[in-house]
Amino acid sequence: MPVMEPTILKVTDGLVALTLVDKAASGYSPAWQAPGGKTAATATLADFTAANQQWSAQITSGKLTPSKQSNRSDRPATFCSPASSSVNPAQSTYALDLSFFQDAHVRDGLSAFLFENDTLEAYFLLAGNAGTAPPRAVGRVNLVAGGFLGEPQANLTDSVSLDVIRKPDVLFGSTGSTRLVTGAGTATNNPA
């Protein structure tokens, strides 16, 4: 059997963008995963840059974290059969987990954005390749405020876990060979 090398993914030039959901936007639908109803394949950085709300150098970790929601039904043992357990599947929930350097000294920084828009709904773009190439994900989160200041003489960091409102869209693959899996459940190879 030939020796196979593992396929390794390493984020070297990633990006997180957030922009508030504008429910007054033309044609708005609650099903939109990105501004203008775009998908992980079609959303552009320009859709998120109206207020310069994208961050890269501040972010030390950006991860879409799923949580399984399935549970098990246990059946006790009887005189003629052992105990057993079966799984009741349920769709996973997601969180956009961000770790970052605090930037409360920047007027339009991430700390200010999160604090100002606490509880509001926002579209997110999480990209592993400069925001323009796959893999990338878009979806909607509820914003929460981050921490403010901390220890003296330290490089202040913080982290937030933003609840993703519904299953996000993810564009897998690499440029020229992609697969878009939407939160609605459709999968499309090389979407336009």
């Binding site: 070297t12 030039d13 890269s56 972010i59 030390t60 950006g62 350097f101 003489q153 202040l156 960091t157």
Partner: protein, 158 residues
């Protein structure tokens, strides 16, 4: 013939520490010409210099980083009671000035500061040496390098 080498983050760090060295020597009453940006070939006490860097990987606030550690040397003539008497001034002001050195984006940390002797081929010397650590890069979503040739962060993506 080649042109000047492109500046690196080590150049910027050296400049900031050199500026702190100038202020430290000034506190002891000595002029900026006694502060050397690079190790001098033939040190003449009193003087100070920023020595060669050692790079290492570690963590700052749990974030992986690349840091430079560099000795900053302050040298006096051990045969001069007047110069030796200023070692405490050099130590105190060196600590303050080097801690406040304007390295970017992260400030320096002094790992150790203590007495040392520098071999100048027979001359009696006394010195205080600061081991200064400066984080140069932290691992973020933005690709970063020590050199300006590639990976410079986009100015519009903070």
């Amino acid at each position: 013939m080649t042109g000047p080498a492109p500046r690196t983050k080590l150049d910027d760090t050296r400049d900031a520490l050199h500026a702190a060295l100038v202020r430290t020597l000034a506190a002891a009453g000595w002029g900026p010409e006694r502060a050397h940006r690079m190790p001098p070939r033939q040190p003449v006490a009193p003087c100070g210099w920023v020595d060669a860097f050692t790079l290492s990987q570690g963590h700052t606030e749990e974030v992986p980083m690349t840091a430079a550690t560099v000795p900053v040397v302050l040298l006096v003539d051990g045969a001069s009671p007047d110069q030796v008497a200023r070692l405490d001034v050099l130590m105190a002001h060196g600590w303050v000035e080097l801690t406040a050195a304007a390295t970017k984006p992260f400030g320096p940390a002094i790992l150790t500061a203590g007495p040392d002797t520098i071999d100048l081929g027979g001359a009696e010397t006394r010195a205080v040496v600061f081991q200064v650590q400066v984080p140069l890069m932290v691992r973020t979503l933005c690709h970063s390098t020590l050199t300006p040739s590639d990976g410079a962060p986009s100015p519009d993506v903070p």
